[in-house]
Subunit: 254 residues, 2 copies
């Protein structure tokens, strides 16, 4: 499985992805799922992928090496797109092509085998910083101030902390920290999500990747964050008073 | 959907269940999912149910009103069972009968429509306090000191706090508190799980229900627990230092 989260706040964008892939529980490998596409001063984007690795790798190749524009016939790559909406459609087209290339036969044998979902975040100079979730059919939704985060893959374990803590006004540093806590919760509860973790940040209206970083198991800040979060949670539930309930309905009914 | 959790610690057993059922998002109702079976001084048990309501209600009727013993022909109810292992098998048989009564036709039309899972916890005098999860086929697993909790229904949102905080040595009061935090996390992140919440506790070797209580929306302790937990989480992530990452790989490569 996989866990990737994108958080879009006033200050900028955070994207975080784990690197564990598995075909069954006994076939585990490490693959980068967070990919950076940048054209200096023009466009900065990240794509995080979940689902069938054959499809997502093919789609990433298509967006990075180019697909022919159906109208002009010219070869275009992701960072040639004039805005993020066009970029999302471009990624959607790449997903459809990748699924098509891999044939419908397998999908008929094993429905859902080619299921994928992607996060696309970034900014094209002159446009808005945006964050999209792109589905296997190529359709997509967008993060908004009401719901400033999007998740793909094994999303449930890491959702409570996002629901409680992330708003549009969260700072970029806080959003990164909360995203890492969300990732930590997922890693602790699900074997199929694992270190190392890749992350990127884009500060709004800078049109460049601010941070493109890999956290491995020995990384001291993330190790410290996990320890602090665990002990804070222990302290938090210890600080809550004990339940006052003393009624015993069966006895009370006597 | 549903969320129920059972926690078995050295001191005793906690079972907690929400009460929301839904057939689609636009057909929501409140049903008790935590049921108490007690024979004074002999046996104290709780059953929590998830999944198809027709099946779980039928199964509960069968265990409460009795099924014929296949060997002796005598009518037996759950609290007649000589030990918890026999009780788990009895509940499993009731689930199979309930599914059978409701026909295989619907299951063929809509596979999984009759899916259910149950938690059974309790103690028969002279035996051990035990906690089981019973599957739709009537087979079951048991909580152990290594994994002292079992969940049914929408279990992922509430799992991280259990993974971090519950051990066999957790006190009964703490286990109840952590179970309520786990329930709160689930309610916040999933619309299909909702108040009121039912809970029961059984203290080991007392062979009686210590607490059988319903928490509704206006209940002050649970309201306070939710507030305290939220603000403790906010304080916890604020207290973690900001990420130190400043590297920008793309620039560094220039």
């Amino acid at each position: 499985m996989t866990y990737c989260v994108g958080i879009l706040v006033r200050e900028g964008l955070v994207m975080i992805a784990d690197t564990r892939t598995n075909a069954g529980l006994d076939n585990i490998a490490t693959y980068r799922k967070l990919h950076v596409f940048e054209k200096a001063g023009k466009a900065s984007m990240g794509i995080a992928t979940a689902g069938n690795l054959a499809v997502t790798q093919s789609a990433l190749t298509l967006v990075g090496e180019g697909m022919k524009n159906p109208e002009t016939g010219a070869l275009e790559i992701l960072t040639d797109m004039p805005n993020m909406f066009a970029a999302a459609k471009f990624v959607g087209r790449a997903v459809r092509e990748a699924r098509g290339e891999l044939g419908e036969t397998i999908e008929q044998e094993d429905p859902g085998a080619f299921h994928v979902s992607l996060l696309l975040g970034g900014q094209v100079a002159g446009g808005r910083l945006r964050l999209f979730m792109i589905y296997a059919a190529g359709n997509f939704i967008e993060a908004t101030p009401d719901t400033p985060y999007l998740q793909i893959g094994e999303h449930k374990y890491g959702k409570p902390i996002l629901d409680r803590s992330v708003t549009e006004m969260t700072t970029l540093d806080e959003a990164l920290k909360i995203g890492l806590i969300s990732m930590d919760s997922t890693i602790r509860s699900n074997l199929s999500v694992g270190l190392p973790i890749d992350l990127l940040t884009i500060r709004r209206n800078t049109a460049r990747i601010e941070l493109n970083y890999r956290i491995d198991a020995a990384e001291p800040y993330f190790h410290d964050l996990r320890e602090r979060w665990s002990s804070a949670l222990r302290a938090a539930h210890k600080a809550i008073p004990s339940p006052p309930y003393k009624s015993h309905v069966v006895e009370a009914a006597k």
